[in-house]
């Protein structure tokens, strides 16, 4: 069997776990949890970073010297214009040319603004960024973002940090069916079962922060999530059985009848 790898913007990835660097109880736990997650891509809010010297930033200094790819995000932006401005700052600092577009207009739900997200995606793609928009779980919108040149599309499972799990698995399934770029479920996952479900729906990866960082044991949870991603992925590739209404014995009589 071929190695199960995938690509974003021409870069090959093995891990399907994108992990956020925020909210960890301490740098020690953060480091250990990231290591245990096996993640190759780290994500963080640009506004929380000291862009003038990123290698000395209070968060990034702890992962310095390791071969991570950075996916900075524009969280806090409430318009496309603002998101574009933040993205340019991040690229100018030499952090990364990958950008997660995250535009929220409501401080209570932090749900993404679909119109501004599409607008920002169009602009940033033209400017040569590798754009991964965080968006609502609308199949048509996700397709539009792909057509606008997004390198991957990241529909939310539920609002950020809620841990509610996949509120609309039907939509996530449709999004995957239609997509020609990787689909990454971003935001709202809470537990290992949510993660396995996402992977079974056929998404290419998941992005998480809160469910790991705020667990009682973030290091243990990072490992649990990594295993869930693996299990879910393998289940998706292996093909689950179809559901039936009535029992069918797993050791049927017929097969034992000597003919």
């Amino acid at each position: 069997m071929n190695k199960d790898v995938w690509q974003i913007g021409g870069h090959e990835l093995t891990s399907r776990f994108f992990i956020g660097t925020g909210l960890f109880p301490s740098p020690y736990v953060q480091k250990e949890a990231i290591r245990e997650s096996g993640a190759e891509v780290l994500t963080f809010a640009i506004r929380r970073i000291n862009l003038a010297s990123t290698e000395d930033d209070s968060i990034l200094q702890h992962v310095e010297g390791e071969a991570f790819r950075y996916l900075p995000n524009t969280s806090g932006a409430s318009t496309a214009e603002e998101a574009v401005r933040i993205a340019r700052l991040a690229r100018a600092s030499g952090l990364s040319d990958w950008i997660k577009v995250e535009i929220s207009a409501n401080e209570r739900t932090l749900l993404p603004d679909p119109l501004e997200t599409l607008k920002a995606t169009e602009i940033l793609v033209k400017e040569g960024f590798i754009v991964l928009p965080y968006t609502s779980d609308d199949p048509i919108l996700c397709k539009r973002l792909e057509e606008a040149g997004a390198a991957a599309v990241m529909p939310g499972a539920a609002p950020i940090g809620t841990g509610l799990g996949i509120l609309n698995p039907y939509n996530i399934g449709l999004i995957v069916e239609e997509a020609k770029v990787p689909i990454i479920v971003d935001a709202g996952l809470g537990s290992v079962s949510d993660v396995a479900q996402a992977m079974e729906l056929g998404v290419s990866g998941v992005l998480m922060n809160t469910p790991v960082a705020k667990a009682k044991d973030p290091v243990g949870m990072a490992r649990a999530m990594r295993l869930a991603i693996e299990a879910g992925r393998l289940s998706y590739l292996s093909g689950r059985i179809s559901k039936k209404r009535y029992a069918s014995a797993s050791s049927g009589h017929e097969q034992f009848i000597v003919k």
């Binding site: 109880p25 301490s26 736990v29 209070s58 290091v219």
Partner: protein, 361 residues
Amino acid sequence: MGGGVVGLSCAFELQKRGHQVIVLEIGRCGGQASGAAAGMLAPYSENVEGPDDFFRLCRESLRLYPSWRDEVRQVSGQKFEYTESGSLYIAYHEADRLALEGRRLWQSEHGSSGIVLEGDELFGQEPKLSREVKAALYTPEESHVYAPDYVQALEQACRLTGVRIFEQLGQVTVEDWRENLALTALDGRSFTGDRLVVCSGAWAKELEDVFDIRIPVYPIRGQICAYEAEIKPVRHMVFCNQGYLVAKANGTLVCGASEDVAGFDTTVTERGIERLRKWNKQAFPFLAEQEPFHRWAGLRPSTQDGFPLLGPLPESSGRIIMAAGHYRNGILLSPVTAQAVADYIETGSRLPAFAPERFSY
């Protein structure tokens, strides 16, 4: 066990309530993180995500502080700085406004009268602040103490109320705790009592095997520097996502803290201090011209979930009580910790969110 701010506070509170307390300290009282701390009493600036159990504990401790301070001052006869400066949490991006506003909203329901300041209003409050700062959350309720003096006053208050303090013990070994309490120091002296309160901060993990329980406490090195600043150039405690600045009454401006993972090493590194200097001049441009005159480091006892271990060990019939893992907030949490420990001993009351056995299975 442990003569840091937590151990001394527990000792003082218990002695006041009529118990006979002995403090066992391997070095000298306040010689580690307690003496190195900047003394920020800032539950709102230290908890930016939401009102969880830890925030509530921090806030309760801030509420207790004024009367606690008065008591420690009065009993010890020693003054220590306690400044009600208020704090500013500054932001450089328009995009931070949403987060500041969100924080202000939930914190206003929990005792903060904070407001978001910008422009002239902000620079009027803090004149030397960089004009690059777009907005700040001003929290009038936050204060700071001068930690070395506070801890010294606590120690004196303990001594004057009859606490017996043994320092420079080198090492203290728990020989028995299941049936009776028996501890020995390196020089062979032995100690006993009815109960043992473990306040050994970053070193608490050493007792895992003794108590047969997981104690996931990890030392995080915090490096701090101070500038000479006779005319207070910074009026509030100023926080940003990289660290904080606070002007002390003794004419110094303290800047902290650069965190890293370095085991029990308390060496100050060039890189660690440079890290502070790189961001602090962005907040206050006048600092670009200044050289810190003092640099030091301490070990913060962080825990696996960020919460302290506070309460009795389950198998010890209440004989062993943990009070460790206060991470960045030992000074702030000292009064509430002392109260929680004393209340448990007197009434059996517990704080389930901080139960020490929560990591064991």
